[in-house]
Symmetry: C2
Subunit: 242 residues, 2 copies
């Protein structure tokens, strides 16, 4: 497998082609952005942590039969993934009231939800990724009814697995964002894509409530690098070069 | 039936008690507001038009078996209504892309939707009535699953009736907002409440596309009074005193 040209550079990752048209390389940067790119910075070795954390979580989900784009870890900053066409709908899974939902609905952060809430956001930077309802997704053709139903069912399975995994290492899985994609060359096959990491999750220490995620960067709480490292440490994923 | 003390004054209506605890008087003002009260003004005889238009539409819906809070017209500005506890979820029914949906999703106004879209908004002035998903309504207890399901089904029936009614008088029913309430003293009984009028609908002339609704006020298009009067005229509702 040979690395080829850069195809896309996002806020936190770069995608490269390979000599196999169905496989890509996902490179994790240290660049950090928040509020749709309004706030910018760098978090030392964030790319390494996110690569290793995302790879491990994808491996766990794959083991329970959830289709994922992740193929294998290549090195500290790169993973081999299957090429997908990203569905332009981000799913936010919420177990605890926090973040934008708390602000929009006038709720206090920290309230445990009686059951998980799945929200859909339309992936459109120019529109600030607006919250949408199910019918927007269907009527405007961003996903089919079959795809959406599969995504909803799969998100609930993923949530069960991840809540249990994080609880076991003393972390409360507050909320997180997932993206899905249509597999290149396989009609009708949707897989979990993108990443699951402290960039895309709210992770609170189960005992102290301490935030171990990107909110430390968003809200200028300090200890950003340490929080990311702590998640990697508890997950038992460590850099091969450190 | 005797008019008693004022119970509530809203942006466009005032509610009075009567000597019957289950009945109220709804008085329609000429005050106009937009953008959650940021823009204010007066539209001459708007209260009269809205009272008569809303009364007629409620009567039509009642005739097809849709439960409504409307009892009868009292005079040019007042109608007798049944007392309800308003469910804090506004339903917006959209047949054509316009207004906030066009802005939020980056769509051009005027596109006919392949099927109607129902959106829910949480009634909370301090939060600017945010768009919410079905699960927000259920998890935070603003309505029960039974109520919400009934509201959805009823909105689709209402939409069929109103599209046909307005088309028949040369008007395209673009979108509109409905509110529902729990009937005072009757457990589990939900009825259509509030009003349906040029204040709460987007109504476009079917041939010319001319706006015959509150957007003339919101967007400073002029001819506001004339637009409201034109809707009343086409509907055959006219003031008893004019």
């Amino acid at each position: 497998m040979e690395k080829r040209e850069q195809l896309y550079e996002g806020k936190a990752k770069v995608i490269f082609a390979t000599d196999n048209p169905d496989l890509l390389i996902q490179y994790f940067k240290d660049d950090a952005t928040a509020f749709n790119g309004v706030k910018k910075g760098t978090i030392t070795d964030k790319g390494v942590v996110n690569n290793l954390v995302a790879g491990k979580l994808m491996t766990i989900l794959d083991a329970v039969g959830i289709p994922v784009h992740f193929v294998r870890q290549l090195n500290d900053r790169e993973q081999l993934i299957r090429r997908v066409e990203i569905i332009p709908v981000e799913v936010v899974i919420r177990n605890v009231v926090a973040g934008s939902m708390a602000r929009r609905l006038g709720l206090d952060e920290g309230q445990q939800l009686p059951r998980p809430i799945l929200e859909f956001y339309y992936k459109a930077d120019a529109l600030d990724d607006p919250l949408v309802i199910r019918d927007h997704v269907l009527v405007f053709g961003w996903a089919t009814e079959d795809e959406l139903h599969w995504i909803e069912t799969t998100c609930r399975r993923i949530n069960d697995v991840l809540i249990a995994f994080f609880a076991n290492i003393g972390i409360r899985l507050v909320d997180y964002k997932l993206e899905f994609g249509r597999l290149h060359g396989e009609v009708g096959k949707v897989v979990l894509a993108d990443e699951i990491s402290p960039d895309t999750c709210r992770l609170w220490d189960l005992t102290t409530g301490e935030k171990l995620d990107k909110d430390r960067f968003r809200r200028d709480l300090g200890g950003v690098v340490e929080a990311y490292q702590e998640v990697a440490r508890r997950m038992g994923v460590t850099s091969k070069t450190s």
